[in-house]
Amino acid sequence: MPDTAPATGPLIGRDRNWHPPAYTPHYKTSVTRAPQRALVALGSTLTEETGPAFGHSILGPLDNNLILNFTGQPAIGERIIVHGRVLDDSARPVPGVLVEIWQANAGGRYRHKKDGYLAPLDPNFAGCGRAITAPDGRYEFLTVRPGAYPWPNRTNDWRPMHIHFSVFGTGFGQRLITQMYFEGDPLIARCPIVNTVPSADGVGQLVAPLDMNAAIPMDCLAYKFDIVLRGRRQTRFENRLEGM
């Protein structure tokens, strides 16, 4: 039985210096959407320490196969496996949690009414997938490599190839949305959304390396992307603040 992440207990506070700040003017939309007042600090309560649970019954057999899960006919693009684990701060697996992804197609176009990029839609690609982590925290998707795409921000900004990830923990306070980038993409360093992450080490945590050990010969390449959720305090000495 693997040592898995605890599912109860107080959440360890977020390191706000590691995450992007709210106000990041090179990402222009943040300017009017960033709260300007200080966040009110609150230790986690039962509300954040509990959270929704999803059973495998919600999953269809092709939910993690983005190449086939829209029409049953294969999507166009470079076939890739994207796999990894969901871990806590002590590198313990977080089993049984929902991982959802969405992405542009191989040409850099999203199947969304608000995306008018001139690259064509792929009739066989919706661009969404989901999985529930295994007892060892693992998840796996089969998809196509998403294209880079331009977006209205500065005069010539392009998003690097990326996959959006939505990850649940065992508590609502662990909820996280992030993006996975691909090793070696020269657009990563130029991207103002990537660069909302303050440190190079933080950016590096979002770049998935090519994983030739997981690639399937004559079939597909693979990228490995581990996701770390905020952990829970495990000390046996638990004092409660007055008033909380």
Binding site: P52, D88, F172, I177
Partner: protein, 200 residues
């Protein structure tokens, strides 16, 4: 010095404008992959308690209504128990996911009014619904709570609301009844009415 061998949390990135593709594809009109979107309701038929509807908007610092925002909510049942806890109402799943209307920006949550759950010190928190708000231009999900203006005694005794230093800002956390069982709750990202957001 020894190494703590602790991992950093994966840095957050914006959900962007296309979050619906992954999280609410049927709402978007991308039918065919999932039979239903997750979180369309936080309860099943037979949930105990007062059925309520909360509508609102998320408004930016320029007064524009966000039409690309997605919100998730998490709450206790009518007795203040969270799903999975002993004694919890089996018909309350607690979690919902909803998005602003692409044209009007209004979002709607149909739920039951939650009861009071205990804070870590045993005092009762006021009835509340936790929200997690993501959108284009929001780099890390914003955490706030819907509380209820018609729960004045519970609000006054709530240890979480007591944490809000500027007492006039507590009003930004209160949903107001517009009709029996119907509440309004706008979220302001900036400005004089900026909603209280928590670092939890």
């Amino acid at each position: 010095m020894q190494n703590l061998h602790q991992l950093k949390e994966s840095p957050s990135q914006t959900a962007g404008p296309y979050v619906h593709i992954g999280c609410m594809p049927n709402f978007l009109g991308n039918t065919g992959t999932y039979p239903v979107d997750l979180g369309v309701s936080p309860m099943l038929d037979g949930a105990l308690g007062q059925a309520i509807t909360i509508t609102g908007r998320v408004i930016d610092g320029a007064g524009m209504v966000l039409r690309d925002v997605m919100i998730e909510s998490w709450q206790a049942d009518a007795a203040g128990h969270y799903p999975g806890q002993p004694g919890a109402d089996a018909n309350v799943t607690g979690w919902a996911r909803f998005a602003a209307d692409f044209d009007t920006g209004f979002w709607t949550l149909h739920t039951i009014k939650p009861g009071r759950a205990p804070a870590p010190n045993g005092q009762l928190m006021t009835p509340h619904i936790a929200l997690w708000i993501v959108a284009r231009g929001i780099n890390i999900g914003l955490q706030t709570r819907i509380c209820f203006a018609d729960e004045a005694p519970a609000n006054a005794a709530c240890p979480v609301l007591a944490r809000v230093e500027h007492k006039d800002r507590i009003a930004t956390l209160l949903a107001h009844a517009t009709a029996p069982g119907t509440y309004s709750f706008d979220i302001h990202l900036q400005g004089d009415a900026e909603t209280v957001f928590f670092d939890i």
